[in-house]
């Protein structure tokens, strides 16, 4: 949850920063109405006002929705916040298991497990797991996948 919050905040900062840069430039545009060129700082504020609520609301929603489960050799992952996505992948059909860590994730000791199958539609990633759990999951999955491998595809 902190991860998404951080990412969201970073995205927000990025957008606001961009808007601020733009506003410096906007001052010289003649085709804009006068009241806007007079107050270029309005732009970053507006951007922040639009973007801030989702940034605050999104992480808890995501945290409430995101789930994963490995039982009976089926990986089940749920993700999303406004739109939701459920993915079911039988371990036997997994082709590769990746474990990745972005630098935010490293900061927080988290990791992402990516599961790929022969089809893009059956691939999924489980984000923001504790590093240890992610490592174990990735290990287990690749072992199991090896054992169960059936070459239907």
């Amino acid at each position: 949850m902190t991860l998404w919050f951080l990412e969201g905040v970073m995205g927000l900062l990025f957008m606001v920063g961009g808007a601020a840069l733009l506003s410096l430039w906007v001052g010289s545009w003649s085709w804009l109405p006068d009241w806007l060129t007079a107050r270029p700082w309005l732009l970053p504020v507006a951007v922040a006002a639009v973007l801030l609520p989702p940034v605050i609301i999104e992480p808890p929603l995501r945290y409430a929705v995101h789930r994963w489960e490995l039982s009976g050799d089926i990986v089940y992952a749920r993700s999303g916040w406004l739109s939701r996505e459920w993915v079911f992948v039988p371990v036997g059909r997994i082709q590769t298991v990746d474990k990745t860590q972005g630098w935010f994730e490293r900061l927080l000791g988290l990791a992402t497990v990516e599961i790929r199958t022969a089809s893009y539609a059956g691939s999924s990633s489980i984000k923001g797991l504790d590093y240890e759990i992610a490592a174990r999951l990735a290990e287990d999955l690749s072992h199991r996948a090896q054992q169960l491998r059936d070459d239907a595809t």
């Binding site: 406004l82 459920w86 993915v87 199958t117 022969a118 089809s119 539609a121 059956g122 595809t153």
Partner: protein
């Protein structure tokens, strides 16, 4: 073995277009002096020498169970393709090759990406046939045990492949003709010429005249200088045409009239004498008038088929048919099993060559057998999506005061009503115990029938809007064809139950969660 030396006759001709411009440039730059001709001649000679060296240094051999392609021109590279990895062989004869009795053999290895494929550009037709026989006579790993096992496992579908054709395990790999005794050729269909009349309906090549004109204009501009037509003259022509719009309009009308004709001709050229046959566990589709192309698909890798129809085709009860094959590159053209064909025949052939779908499989008019409709909310959603964007455009245009745009957008919104209704009618999914099927779309209605064992996973998706109307999109991940086949807007329970019905062992334990 080397490629056929006749390639040397083709290669320079093939390179000519790319050489023409630089050569022309050299000549023009040199003011057509003797020296510039010398340079140009050197260029031509160089390209010929290059072609010869390339020919001389490229060899292919079948060693044991591998095919090795060796290139040793500047750097040396050996590409080894295990024969069991070859999933399909695509033999085609472009016009020039045909003139000299050559063919291009492309090997589909399922590695993905064009670069991963083996290509033998320029072997004699007999050699291509021989290669195909050898390459395809091999079975994937375990199979070399007995020839019976080979026929049983590989063909998958008993019957049409004919009697157990004994392929001596060692025979493959040894040069020397098509292994004798490989019979079992079975024609599913030789498409009658009369079916070519359906071509213009397919809409595939309708834009050909425009493309031709555009190409000609482009060429004119590019090479205009060399033909003595300066840009100014072209501009003058353009202005003259603009001043005399009747010619312009007449030209456009001619082009539009030429559309079905040219479309029909192109279609006929590409799909001439389409035949579909089975040969030792492979489906072979051959077609083409000038460039004859034969694509072999390994039957044990075919996981299903896909039908597509456009509205005019639906009116005329026509359909196009593709195979869903695992690890097939360029599946849009290679997987094609039939040109535009009457639906009843296409279904019969699909049932015969691959497998039937539906409880009363075998009857030929299985229009929507076993497909369950989606809930009424789905109709609302289809309608909304077909109409609303245009209404939005109309509203915005009305605010801005663009009358024409408003009218057009409103007209499109009106058109959206039947479109949306039809799209809802098209929606459907079903499962017959071994294969599941999903159908969607209106302007291009596609129905996919895929085997259960090709599934690699399920994905359920629900956007916020779908959630509020209790709908769910089910995407079946398949390691073949386009990768995922979705059942749009099923009911929440319905969608989950559909997935659980197809693969109960995957989902029942979770069924209470979503």
């Amino acid at each position: 073995m080397r490629l056929s030396p006749k390639v040397l006759l083709i290669d320079p001709v093939r390179m000519l277009p790319s050489l023409l411009l630089p050569l022309g440039g050299v000549l023009v730059a040199g003011g057509f002096s003797a020296r510039s001709f010398l340079f140009a001649a050197m260029g031509v000679a160089g390209s010929i020498v290059f072609a010869v060296i390339r020919w001389a240094t490229f060899t292919y051999t079948i060693v044991g169970d591998r095919l090795e392609l060796t290139r040793a021109f500047v750097s040396r590279s050996v590409r080894t393709i295990p024969l069991e990895r070859i999933r399909g062989v695509d033999v085609s004869t472009p016009p020039l090759h045909r003139l000299f009795g050559l063919a291009v053999v492309k090997l589909d290895t399922g590695a993905g990406g064009d670069k991963q494929e083996g290509e033998l550009n320029g072997v004699t037709v007999e050699e291509a046939e021989r290669l195909r026989a050898i390459l395809l006579a091999r079975r994937p790993s375990p199979p070399r045990a007995t020839s019976e096992a080979y026929n049983g496992t590989a063909a998958g579908v008993p019957g049409p492949t004919g009697p157990a054709a004994g392929v001596p395990a060692g025979a493959a790999g040894i040069p020397g003709g098509v292994p004798a005794g490989v019979s079992g050729e079975h024609y599913f269909i030789r498409v009658p010429r009369s079916w070519l009349r359906y071509g213009p309906l397919s809409g595939a090549y309708l834009l050909t005249p425009f493309a031709l004109v555009a190409g000609a204009v482009g060429l004119l501009f590019q090479w205009g200088d060399e033909f003595g037509i300066s840009g100014k003259a072209a501009w003058a022509i353009g202005e003259w045409l603009w001043d005399h719009p009747q010619y312009l309009i007449a030209g456009v009308i001619v082009l539009v009239l030429a559309m079905p004709l040219a479309g029909g001709i192109m279609y006929a050229v590409f799909n001439w004498d389409f035949t579909l046959k089975a040969r030792d566990g492979y489906l072979v589709a051959e077609r083409g008038l000038i460039n004859r192309r034969a694509v072999s698909l390994e039957r044990s890798r075919i996981r299903g088929y896909e039908l597509a129809e456009s509205p005019p085709e639906r009116v005329a009860k026509l359909v196009r048919l593709w195979a869903v094959v695992t690890g097939l590159g360029d599946s849009e053209t290679r997987g094609q099993l039939l040109p535009v064909a009457p639906k009843a025949d296409a279904l019969a052939i699909a049932a015969d060559a691959i497998a039937p779908f539906g409880p009363n499989a075998g009857s030929t008019h299985t229009n929507a057998v076993g497909l369950r409709p989606h809930p009424p909310q789905a109709r609302r959603r289809r309608l909304f999506r077909a109409i609303f964007p245009w209404l939005l455009v109309a509203a915005v245009a009305a605010v801005l005061g663009w009358g024409v745009v408003v009218a057009v957008a409103l007209a499109l919104a009106l058109l959206g009503i039947p479109l949306g209704l039809d799209r809802y009618r098209s929606l459907g999914h079903g499962y017959d115990g071994a294969r599941f099927s999903v159908r969607s779309g209106s302007l291009r209605r596609t129905q996919a029938v895929v085997e259960r064992r090709a599934l690699v996973g399920w994905t359920f998706k629900q956007t916020w809007f779908q959630r509020s109307s209790g709908l769910l999109t089910v995407i079946a991940g398949v390691g073949a064809g386009s990768g995922g086949y979705s059942a749009l807007d099923t009911g929440e329970r319905q969608g989950v139950e559909f997935a659980a019905e197809v693969t109960p062992e995957w989902l029942t334990q979770f069924i209470t969660h979503p």
